[in-house]
Symmetry: C2
Subunit: 433 residues, 2 copies
């Protein structure tokens, strides 16, 4: 009997982060960072782990979406799945009935990503490699073979992608030594949550600089006077040489964004993140033209590769914020890295949440080794909570991500954390906690 | 005690349409037309009905999404909900945690639309009016007050919308008499499903013309030779004076679409619908520039008003295909009608499926009476199946929709149909059927 997939389990895991206002911003005043946590099981008693990140209510809908994919997966031979992860990706995103619920967006698309990433996790564990090395060890032909070019060819052809990957090969061994020795640059959002007091903001901003970060991020977009006050406080706390990015979390319309950013310009924000609706490609382009040299960044809500393609085609962004669980997993993120490289736009991944740091670091490191070939202008977001729930928590040293060496994609949670925070039955969610 | 909402029920209703290949197209070879069917119940023993249309698998996820909204709704005073449907819409689409699952797209957004439309249904029933008349009787100020302009102002301001609605008022009584007397123009997709034989295609195309239709639609996008053969057959069956629209259901990339349409051009297709990814605003614009005078149409998968805004700003479409259940209900569809009027693009609604004809006709008729003020170049899709399951089924006469006079939004299904087709427990889904 050949080994088959026997189960796709999904668990509703929620952390009560709203109790401390960690993660509070203009759109998310009280998030409970959560995950639809996925385990693929095989008849060979093996497992792979993936997740979709959400912010609380509705995590049950995300779990339902993963469960809707299970019948497409259970019973498949493991060798077929791992031997053709492109075909597996299309099976998850291309089902003719489930596709209607997107297509390629929202709950169903994130569910496909969680399941696909669990298969990648299984694959990487079997190879005994962290995802970043598994990908970096693949040939350009293998990597291009993972991508669905159907809707991309007007911006990037398979031949161009192949050429781009081949050109990135020289120097890879040296870059890998450098990566392992020094890690990958990070920035921190820890000081800047909207719900924090001014005192906490100033204290955490100074601590961030002392910890080696040279880029911090502040949430803006609620009250205009508060934005100006907080930005002034942060600038005077860190001085002129530390970059301060700001993040409006979609709070503004296009014209409003331009007005607000003009008022904040004297404090020299490095980038403005999510100034308006994440769907508004043309709006981002208009804002970018109006507020230069402030850079425009987006991506954590950019729902698929077709949207990223357009953000690049329209010259709407200076910085592409890759997310590990918003799109349909590793394959689509490879497509997005290739698109960014084609257009010469640096990728600075979105992270934080639950497991996003653990997962997305692999993609950024793969980008450095095999796609863009540089860390110039690139930095991964870092937020310092919830890492203790992961089997391989990220390690930050001197403002940089230390290269992870454990096998897998980084999504594996500690079993006791899953049990404790399962919603609504887990002990952490009982009355009195 | 004031009357409150006591329940938001959602039922998984599926019709086994795949058994006959009704509804088959390039992306949906075997759909089972389905609905997450929503009933809002009140302590005054009143009810309102809404639905989200899906094509089978995953309808359970759509139901889960509706149920996730119920806690935001149950307990609200009915007077508050019906007295401020704009606020109710924002409650459904703006919840800070559920919003993460979109935002404003996919399963959660359709769920918000189904619940909001159920509230509109309750409201219209109490007023004793069909939705089209309820809306047409509102003042321009009331209508503008229903719209969320946060992300629209760069394309349409509230003042412009108000002006547009005021300019549409003269002649409204005359148009309403005309509408009631003659109905609203329709076109039919019945002949053109991809799974039908050539003989069935030719027979149904001739029947459509005999029934009074002057526009029919053919599915294309699978095999190129078959597209050419079917288009030639259809053209010779109906002659040169009947318009033939074609629908690729997203099958092509941008360059591929241009190539395929060039080969079909000799048969003079009237419009090409969904030539590529529904997210690809810039791709639609490129295709439109390349294939004129063939018109470009899209909308049934256009997930929110920000995407429609961009399709219009980018001059990407000649025809806007409004859908009753893809976006967040009546309010967002009013915004989309206003955007279309501002940009002078005719709205030709998508229909078919389950209840889409019954629902979307109200919006097109409202558009005629109070927004665009014309039916010139406008036509509502018609497909002749599943209407028997609705309490107020659409009536088509001489190729036109007869004005519905029953109160409500059109979503109310016959209770015996809901029972019979409930999935998976209903009698129609038992083995042997």
């Amino acid at each position: 009997m050949s080994e088959v997939i026997t189960a796709v389990d999904a668990v509703d895991v929620r952390f009560p982060t709203s109790r401390e206002l960690d993660g509070s911003d203009a759109m998310n005043p009280e998030p409970d960072y959560s995950a639809a946590y996925v385990t693929i099981r095989t008849s060979g008693d093996d497992e792979g782990y993936g997740l979709a990140f959400t912010v609380g209510r509705g995590n049950d809908v995300q779990v339902a979406a993963v469960r809707a994919l299970a019948p497409l997966v259970v019973g498949l031979p493991v060798a077929d799945v791992l031997g053709d992860l492109r075909a597996f990706s299309e099976r998850l995103t291309g089902d003719s009935q489930l596709r209607w619920l997107g297509p390629h967006k929202g709950v169903m698309h994130m569910a496909a990503g969680a399941v696909l990433n669990a298969a990648w996790d299984l694959y990487a564990r079997r190879e005994g490699k962290p995802l970043w090395r598994l990908l970096a060890d693949m040939s350009p032909e293998q990597l291009v073979g993972l991508v669905d070019f159907r809707y991309l060819r007007d911006a990037l052809t398979p031949e161009e992608a192949l050429d781009l990957l081949r050109r990135a090969r020289p120097g890879r061994e040296q870059r890998q030594r450098d990566l392992v020795a020094r890690g990958y640059p990070a920035y921190t959002t820890t000081p800047g949550w909207l719900g924090y007091t001014d005192e906490k903001l100033v204290r955490l901003a100074r601590e961030a600089v002392a910890d080696g970060f040279d880029l911090i991020k502040l949430k803006v977009g609620a009250d205009q006077a508060a934005d100006l006050r907080r930005m002034a406080l942060a600038r005077s706390a860190v001085g002129p040489d530390i970059r301060i990015a700001i993040d409006a979390n979609q709070a503004w319309g296009v014209g409003q964004a331009v007005g607000r950013l003009t008022s904040l310009a004297p404090y020299e924000p490095y980038w403005i993140e999510e100034p308006t609706s994440p769907d508004d490609v043309l709006g981002h382009a208009a804002i970018r033209r109006a507020v230069a040299p402030i850079k425009v960044a987006t991506g954590e809500h950019c729902h698929n590769q077709v949207m990223f393609k357009q953000l690049l085609q329209a010259q709407a962004i200076d910085i592409l914020q890759l997310d590990a669980t918003r799109v349909a997993g590793v394959n689509e993120n490879i497509a997005i890295l290739l698109l960014a490289a084609k257009f010469g736009v640096p990728v600075c991944p979105h992270a934080g949440g639950v497991g996003l740091c653990e997962m997305v670091q692999h993609l950024a490191m793969f980008d450095y080794l095999a796609v863009s070939g540089t860390t110039q202008g690139r930095v991964i977001e870092y937020v310092d909570h919830l890492h203790q729930h992961f089997v391989d928590p990220v390690v930050i040293r001197d403002g940089r991500y230390v290269t992870p060496e454990g096998p897998g994609v980084g999504a594996r949670m500690r079993p006791e954390s899953v049990t404790a925070y399962t919603y609504p039955g887990g002990p952490q969610w009982q009355p009195g906690r």
